[in-house]
């Protein structure tokens, strides 16, 4: 059959298996991005059918076409052809959860009012059967007069039925207002069309029914229209309509919804109203996982298993990636002639890329678990169990998993906040997430604690070092809670988003979707955040490598360069044959722009107890926190491979101020520095991810400024307070 290219929109409630249908229809021919200006994900794909390539848009999940969130607005405006970034669909496929028919058919009746050709997919027939719900496709088709395709998305082959239904569809539009609104309601719809929609708006004609009903029943609609030049007419029309409804004894808010649900009840015929209410496996699992006492315990156990696995599974991959990039760097430095280009490629580009790719294992493992938890339906339960606590501090039950992911790394944690529907809750979660002590802080904590916190035991068995370590983690959590609480009040002028959350039936996750999601998240991170990270790496490299200087007395520059590449390519290379106390690398770094800046900013960080060496470390640690240790290694000219922390530790302890002869670092300096690391936002990957997830530079800028100011203040208070108490 010959057919033009179609634009097909997939519409449906959340949790109906819409994405699975999308994946089966499009295969690998997909594109994921963001809608311009907002953070709603846009997914499109290509359906190859009878030799024609149709475009499929996977619209955000929505319960209604009376939009209340950005997601729903995009879904609605795309369907009526008003959304400027999307083509107008010629066909709507509405995915319906057969085990939850009534609420799902509500959306179906709304899409029908748009008068566009449509197909209803009765998905999850298998779940409905298990639960004893009789979802009869024929009965529904007779009720709605649109093609109905029964499917169990689990059974992969059934997608053929949908493909056939698409080829066979004659593109006859669905019948609007089939749900038979009362005569009064009909009159009012016509009145609003004639008096407002037709003369004063440019809305597409097929949206008029839904728009008229929205004007009648949405209590916030007049706020939405208050900037409209013809606002007075709108107000008059709306108020008249509502008054007419009241006069005839109808509730203008409820009339439409009631009429739709009454119509939907027609499919049920003579079936018992309580069918499908029988006890199911879901009820049995829920009696444990949402139990008042057992629920939180189960949740903590699941998290424990999850993060243990992420750490143990991801570490070998991360080490491998690290090693791979070191090898790549040494190969490149051999192949390229020595010089600036070599340095740029090896120390700027390859090191920067390595810094991006090293996050991939953690991101992919985290999203593996998150997809499984979402796919099974457990995530909503976790949110249910935790919401009582989280809502008190201004967050959402769904904030818990992203926040705890932050202990591994803030980057995947921030990406995981997508499961939070409310923008306010999501933003607060993102803004406090970097306070959770991520694994990149570990090397710094380990160095400072082992060097400057005494190895004493409290009560004979509690190690002071361990206690400080634990304290730093706790400090991060408490700070996150306080910050969330403050932000909740700062953002309180926004209309609170209602908490109406479905707890979907449990089901086995679809492994193809799980793996697909893992790969997608990884790819998005590498392509979006990666660009920014590589760019900043190159800038930091430049600051640390220029201007080019040579140590006095080393007049043979060529030897130096050779030496540098030797160190890079063979870490086991001979000990530095130059000055044993200061190598060329250390000399270069301390005299670079970064070094100058370290000296320059010393007056600003002196009150925190930091000298210029820590200053350089702070600048370079903006690339990633753990770089701090590497930078200090370079400054202290530690080049033997088995030296690392142990040697650095000794050198730092032994470091004396040349003027006073007193130690440069004390326990107080160490605590001040660790507090600074606990609070400051020294991570460009985090900032790049925030920029991607909020779609603006505003929030990463706010995050950087408030976290770093907080870090400065905390370190200042502790160091100066400590000095006053004579602890210096």
């Amino acid at each position: 059959m010959d057919r033009n290219q179609l634009t097909i929109a997939l519409v449906g409630n959340p949790n109906t298996g819409k994405t699975t249908v999308f994946n089966s229809l499009t295969g690998l021919k997909q594109k994921i991005g963001n809608y311009p200006g907002v953070t709603v994900e846009r997914k499109t794909g290509v359906l190859q059918l009878d030799g024609v390539r149709h475009t499929i848009i996977d619209l955000p999940g929505t319960y209604s076409l009376n939009p209340k969130s950005i997601d729903e607005r995009i879904a609605y405006e795309t369907l009526i052809g008003k959304y400027e970034y999307e083509a107008t669909p010629n066909l709507a496929i509405v995915i319906v959860d057969a085990s939850n028919l009534e609420r799902n058919l509500y959306l179906v009746t709304q899409v029908m009012d748009l008068g566009i050709p449509m197909i209803v997919v009765l998905n999850m027939m298998d779940v409905a059967e298990e639960r004893g719900i009789n979802a009869d496709p024929e009965r529904i088709q007779n009720l709605l007069h649109v093609p109905v395709v029964p499917m169990a998305a689990k059974r992969e082959k059934e997608i053929v039925k949908l493909r056939e239904a698409i080829s066979r569809h004659d593109l006859t539009p669905a019948t609007p207002l089939l749900w038979s609104p009362s005569d009064r309601l009909q009159q009012i719809i016509t009145h609003i069309k004639d008096e407002w929609l037709k003369p004063h708006t440019h809305l597409p004609k097929n949206s008029w029914n839904v728009e008229a009903l929205r004007l009648l029943s949405n209590t916030h609609i007049l706020d939405e229209l208050k900037n409209d030049p013809a606002f007075d007419s709108a107000k008059k029309v709306v108020e008249k309509a509502r008054k007419q409804m009241e006069e005839s004894g109808d509730n203008w808010m409820a009339a439409e919804v009631m009429a739709r649900y009454n119509f939907i009840a027609g499919y049920r015929g003579d079936q018992d109203e309580s069918s499908g209410l029988k006890s199911t496996l879901t009820d049995k699992i829920d009696s444990i996982v949402t139990h008042k006492i057992l629920g939180p315990i189960v949740f903590v156990l699941i998290l424990l298993v999850m993060f243990e696995s992420i750490f143990t599974w991801a570490t070998p991959f991360m080490d491998l990636i690290d090693l791979g990039f070191i090898q790549l760097g040494s190969v490149a430095s051999h192949l390229l002639p020595a010089g600036i280009l070599n340095d740029l490629i090896v120390q700027g580009v390859i090191a920067g890329l390595g810094g991006v790719v090293v996050f991939l294992p953690q991101i992919m493992f985290l999203f593996f678990f998150i997809s499984v938890l979402e796919g099974t339906g457990y995530m909503a339960r976790a949110a249910f169990v935790m919401d009582g606590f989280m809502s008190r501090i201004g967050l959402h039950g769904r904030s818990v998993v992203p926040l705890i992911s932050g202990f591994a790394c803030a980057v995947p944690g921030i990406m995981a906040t997508r499961t939070i529907e409310s923008w306010r809750d999501r933003l607060i979660t993102i803004m406090v997430l970097p306070f959770m002590s991520c694994s990149a802080r570990l090397p710094v904590y380990a160095l400072m604690i082992s060097a400057f916190i005494p190895r004493t035991f409290i009560l004979g068995f509690i190690s002071l070092q361990g206690l400080v370590f634990f304290g730093l983690y706790l400090f991060g959590i408490v700070t996150a809670i306080i910050a969330a609480f403050v932000m909740k009040h700062l953002f309180s002028n926004e209309r609170p988003t209602p908490f109406i959350m479905e707890l979907p039936s449990y089901k086995m996750p679809r492994w193809s979707s799980v793996f697909r999601n893992m790969v997608d998240r990884g790819w998005i991170f590498v392509t979006e955040a990666g660009k920014v990270i590589v760019a900043i790496s190159i800038i930091l490299w430049f600051l640390a490598s220029f201007p080019k200087v040579h140590k006095p007395g080393d007049n043979a520059a060529g030897i130096n360069l050779e030496h540098t590449s030797q160190v890079l390519s063979q870490p086991q290379g001979k000990k530095d044959s130059f000055d044993p106390t200061e190598s060329q690398a250390a000399y270069q770094l301390t005299h670079s722009y970064a070094g100058m800046f370290g000296h320059f900013m010393e007056p600003a960080i002196k009150p925190l107890g930091f000298d210029w060496k820590l200053g350089i470390g702070l600048i370079s640690s903006f690339a990633a926190r753990e770089v701090m240790v590497g930078t200090l290694n370079t400054i202290y000219s530690i080049q033997d491979e088995n030296g690392s922390i142990a040697t650095l530790k000794q050198k730092m302890i032994a470091d004396r101020d040349p003027r006073t002869g007193r130690p440069v670092y004390s326990m107080l300096t160490a605590i001040s520095l660790m507090l600074f690391f606990a609070l400051a936002c020294q991570c460009m990957s985090t900032l790049a991810t925030v920029r991607r997830e909020t779609n603006s530079w505003k929030w990463p800028a706010v995050m950087f400024l408030y976290m770093t100011s907080l870090a400065y203040l905390a370190s200042l208070l502790v160091y100066q307070g400590g000095l006053m108490l004579g602890l210096g």
């Binding site: 209604s64 009376n66 209410l277 629920g295 039936s505």
Partner: protein
């Protein structure tokens, strides 16, 4: 007539009325007058509460639950 927020023990009830600014959203989710509503459980710390309506499970915070009026059956 009682508000859903006042009933916390698992029990079977019938919806009599919906109120408040989020009325439409609640009704669109299927919470309509005359329908049986079962209170399934409450979360730790008292909220949200979990209800069964039209054969599916839904959870609401206190603010939303106080908009739903019920009678015991």
């Amino acid at each position: 007539m009682l508000r859903l927020s006042e009933l916390k023990q698992p029990q079977k009830t019938r919806i009599t009325r919906i109120d408040g600014p989020e009325m439409i959203r609640l009704m669109e989710m299927g919470i309509t007058p005359g329908l049986p509503l079962e209170i399934v459980r409450t979360a730790p710390l008292g909220y949200p509460i979990e209800i069964k309506i039209r054969g599916y499970l839904l959870s609401l915070r206190e603010a939303e639950a106080s908009c739903v009026f019920l009678e015991q059956v």
